[in-house]
Amino acid sequence: MITIEQRAEFRKHFRNNIASRMITDKVIKGIVFGCVILAIIPLGSILLEVVRNGAPVLSAGFLTQPPGAVGSDQPGGIGPAIQGTLMLIGMSSLIGVPIGVLGGIFLSEYGNNRFGNTIRFFNDVLAEFPTIVIGLFSFAVIVLTLGYFSILAGTFALSIIMLPIITRTTEESLKLVPVTIREAGYALGIKRWTVIFRILLSSAKSGLITGIMLSIARIGGETAPLIFTILGSSDFFTGFDQPMDALPLRIWRLSLLPYDTATAQGWGAALVLILIVLTLNIGVRYLFLRKRGGGSRFRITAGV
């Protein structure tokens, strides 16, 4: 903000040394553009290396078989990890989506008060929360209570992680629905909850799906909370009271093994994971966000 005194000063300043000011401007523009390049290089390098090292490992067997003995000639595959990640995504969505959508409806339709503001605030705080703490929490609540590591504990942790994202995007997309559409519903004598379900949710559909898909992309890459909850395993799903495997967890374990075959498999698993995550993100962007002119309302975040 510029005061009148400052303005006079600026005027005096701007009349002089135009040449050097233009040079400063050019230099800064160059530096700033350099920053953008600097940020793009790692992304390019990551994508390149993941594809270069991961692609040779990919095969039908790699995607479907269980892992073989550590360091042996038959390294097996990552079948259980893929199964585990898909199951975790499905089961977490079963808990996270309904609660998140309902919470978002509350914030948008009934939340214009102090209570709503409090929830909105803590929702945003939870969205940026260290997920390892949520993993510890799920360990204490589910694993210690039940007495075994299981996919249930992992589901609980991941549903907490996806919840704030869905709540936020649901609220944002419901708020975009014009008041006139609501009023049209009320004018027909329709009850409020029917208006919300039949009119608002269908108008805000694309925003809702965007939020859900982004949150799935996020939890798909989560590793830290899984260490304490599903533990990791080399077998396919055998029951809700048994440890499970998941892609990010498998990548971590493989990266710690001192065998070249394990490292190669780690890259292969990373390729599968990054394909899932990026497909969801790019798909969302392509299908839904473009229509509304940029998706700044929905921030993409990665699993920790």
């Binding site: 903000m1 919470g103 929360f129 208006v195």
Partner: protein, 322 residues
């Protein structure tokens, strides 16, 4: 006479629905409260045994009989890596945000913002894998070894034997990971600066950079600080990439002394040692205690950041419309 049946049943459903929605929203508050409760009760044992020396001590001995735990090195390690990541990441992020909000032509703007956001979508464990097998070698050969050769004997920061799995590598990868968060929020905040501010500066004959310096920065300062703190929150809680890259020292050796030495953060010690801790042991209580400290740090950082960012985006969006 024809009767018109109003859709939606009795007003009772309205009430029930509202209550259900309120319960769903309250679930978030309940979860946060439960997290606090569980972390406190799970780590009670260690606070009873070690007291304040859990925060200040540096021993980490899990051998039964001579158990002793101190989290100071990991607290220090967390702040050093996160701080270094901020030193590297914040200027670059603000530069990116400036380019995207002020300089870039329209067609580049959306493509570049998307690419930056994709950087945020890459899972942490893949950053770790990339850092471990690709980036570490470049960093060691091109930056760490030359710096160590030139300054290693005189400046303690650059002493030690660069191996690549150390504080420096972890911090640089952390910086890469927080850049998209800080850059995209900063960009939103800069876009929210009313054009009248810029026009006033242009009218005085300012160049683009001068407009940015005297009209955009002062107006968006608190929001930019908020965005950076939000990035700090991410860096503090980041687990997998750091665990894979920091070298995982324990005990007094974990104190960060040289940039090229191994260390440990709060989240990485939990991830590393948890599989070895038996349930109900003091070791487990110590790890949950570290989790409690991490929780306290992260919630403070996040609350400050949310207050700063939301206030700026709210009031300034109003100003843009007006």
């Amino acid at each position: 006479m024809e009767t018109v049946k109003l859709k939606g049943g009795s007003p009772l459903f309205d009430k029930i629905f509202k209550i259900a929605a309120a319960v769903a929203a309250t679930y978030i508050l309940a979860i946060i409260a439960l997290i606090v409760f569980q972390l406190v009760s799970g780590s009670y044992q260690i606070w009873a045994q070690e007291g304040i020396s859990f925060l200040t001590g540096s021993d980490w001995n899990a051998v039964e009989g001579s158990e002793s735990y101190g989290a100071a090195p990991y607290i220090a390690g967390t702040f050093v890596t996160a701080g270094l990541a901020m030193l590297i990441g914040v200027p670059i992020s603000i530069g990116i945000a400036m380019f995207l909000a002020e300089l870039a032509p329209k067609f580049l703007r959306s493509i570049l913002s998307f690419i930056i956001e994709l950087l945020a979508a890459v899972p942490s464990v893949i950053y770790g894998l990339w850092g471990m097998f690709v980036f570490r070698d470049y960093l060691r050969d091109w930056i760490e070894v030359p710096l160590n050769n030139a300054l290693g004997n005189n400046v303690f920061l650059f002493s030690g034997t660069p191996f690549g799995l150390d504080i420096f590598t972890a911090s640089v990868v952390l910086a890469i990971m927080v850049i998209p968060t800080i850059a995209s929020i900063s960009r939103e905040i800069m876009i929210a600066v009313p054009n009248s501010q810029r026009e006033a500066a242009y009218m005085l004959g300012a160049t683009k950079w001068e407009v940015f310096k005297m009209a955009v920065i002062p107006y968006s300062k608190s929001g930019l600080i908020g965005a950076s703190i939000l990035g700090l929150g991410r860096a503090v809680g980041e687990t997998m990439a750091v665990t894979m890259l920091i070298g995982n020292a324990t005990g007094p050796q974990a104190f960060p002394t040289s940039l090229f030495g191994p260390s440990q953060t709060m989240s990485s010690i939990i991830a590393n040692e948890f599989p070895e801790a038996s349930q109900g042991s003091l070791h487990m209580a110590a790890l949950i205690g570290v989790g409690l400290i991490l929780f306290a740090v992260a919630i403070c950082i996040n609350m400050v950041a949310q207050l700063l960012v939301s206030r700026v985006l709210k009031t300034h969006q109003g100003a843009v419309l007006a």
